[in-house]
Symmetry: C2
Subunit: 327 residues, 2 copies
């Protein structure tokens, strides 16, 4: 492992000069530069990021905190983050909390100990108090999930409006008994989507029936399946269901099929997110598209701006109703 010292010695220059040719931008005599570059090649020299990072007190790493990598929603966001990060000379440190507070503490430690230059937090279950404290001293942005009161910048969508659009669609095609498969309402977007659901019902004079609202513990196929199992036992069975995630909708679809019922004739179904596999179910799932990749990409750009000390503005992206076969 050649070091900058060895390159300097062999090229007959000082380490400062080698550093200069490494870091472009500074003026170096063409001949000197050529000589140094030649030696760099000969020695197969690669500058050590450890040295550089200590000196510059930066790590060029972005912490990405998600609940679970198994959820494809985050997968597509991470994809977007990655693209922007890399094109700006950063890399991603992926962190799953799995709703484990200890892990969360570990990750928050990583920004304090300089392992990461900033964090993109996408875990709705994170300890908000600690997050806010952290955000006062370090660059942090939120993505998808966010907190209204805080001054942590975020990129997200208008969940209330998106849910309203989804439910209105269901109503317009004739449904009145519309179930909602929601997740834990401690999560902001769950509350917002419920508000959108209620607004649509109210607007069309449909009474709210608490029996039709199911809250899942988590966001997994099984949770969706369980929700539908429950909903099918309600005396006046719903004719349509709105799930706040395609993952839940797909689980629900499975349960409907298992009961010998047909989508959309017996029950219409609408999901959320437009995950790639929502188009592979049979029937294909109608859903509310979220621009996940773009969201991730913008969140990364926003974070990098913050790291550079620039001001940033919150971003609310557009959603889109994608009509397919399940409604």
């Amino acid at each position: 492992m050649a070091t900058i010292q060895e390159v300097a010695k062999k090229a007959g220059v000082s380490v400062a000069t080698v550093s200069r040719v490494l870091n472009k931008h500074t003026v170096v005599n063409a001949k000197t530069r050529a000589k140094v570059e030649k030696v760099i090649k000969e020695l197969n020299y690669e500058p050590s990021m450890l040295g550089r990072n200590l000196r510059n007190s930066e790590s060029k790493l972005l912490l990405v905190v998600i609940p679970s990598i198994a959820n494809p929603f985050y997968t597509e966001i991470v994809d977007g983050i990655q693209e922007t990060a890399i094109s700006n000379g950063y890399h991603i440190l992926l962190c799953e909390t799995n709703s484990n507070p200890e892990r969360e503490a570990t990750y928050f430690g990583m920004i304090k100990n300089r392992m990461a230059d900033g964090v993109i937090c996408m875990d709705p279950a994170v300890n908000k108090q600690k997050l806010f404290e952290l955000a006062e001293k370090y660059p942090i942005v939120q993505c998808s999930d966010y907190d209204k009161g805080s001054n942590i910048p975020y990129v997200t969508i208008d969940s209330e409006l998106a849910a309203y659009h989804a439910v209105r669609h269901l109503i317009k095609i004739g449904h009145k008994r519309i179930a909602m498969i929601n997740t834990d309402e401690r999560i902001l977007y769950a509350r917002e989507r419920r508000a959108g659901y209620e607004r649509a019902l109210k607007e069309f004079g449909i009474p709210l029936d608490e029996e039709l609202i199911f809250h899942t513990m988590d966001i997994d196929f099984n949770d969706g399946q369980q929700a539908m199992r429950s909903l099918l036992e309600v005396k006046d069975v719903p004719t349509a269901a709105f799930a706040v995630s395609d993952v839940l909708a797909i689980g629900a679809l499975k349960e409907i099929n298992n009961n010998g019922l047909k989508v959309p004739n017996d029950i219409a179904l609408i999901g959320f997110d437009k995950l790639s596999f929502s188009n592979m179910t049979y029937p294909a799932l109608t859903t509310v598209a979220q621009p996940m990749f773009k969201m991730g990409s913008l969140a990364a750009a926003m974070l990098i701006q913050k790291i550079q000390g620039k001001k940033v503005e919150n971003i609310v992206l557009e959603h889109e109703l994608v009509l397919r076969e399940s409604t």
Copy 2:
């Protein structure tokens, strides 16, 4: 940002002593330790990993190279890697190549420049020549994909045998026209799974029909769908299909459904991997389970062993045929 210097000064000890209380294991007088720990709390001191890493010439980061994070197969492996990495004080640096050689070069650079202590390579399309060169100087392990000739340690399954089991199952339930949805045969597992497919056919005296073997470009739902579209146009339509990935099988299933055909009656279908989604299709997919999480976990453990300079042995894990509704 307090440094070790400030802690030392305020506690009235030397930096060496502070370092000692930080790094346990060394003997420090109980009183001194208490005093130092008190100051550490007061100052909210967090040791800088940048300094520590430079000094120890390590980064405590593991490079994980995958083709695409969108493929749920890798997702579950990464989950396993993460668990083991974290419990050993490492973190993962996630890298998608997207079959982009430039990115690949960037990632390989990261081990050379000390940003990572080792790499778990899962990209079958990686430049093997470069990979082998790298493996001579740095700790590298392969996971799922591997290379027979090389001396890069790996953890994988017996793909030939797994494919043989899958196809034999199809034959035993009465099928003779069995299609194979394979991926690019430049990839080792694709060749191995084809060998297993052929072995099963031969064993039961079924002639090989090249028309029934489709090669996809990539591993995406669309590729599976396209494969089945093609297969349905063969004059003597197959009555069963073996796909080398659940993702491909799910795409194929979609196409079968689109054509008004029924699985398993018109066409039986078997996938590979046992992705969580494979149980949510209708009908649920019969598949060959791979222990993805364990694979990732073992690969991480293996890599950490290598980093510590220990010898490691290749690992071949068991697969399992999971009978569900699609056959």
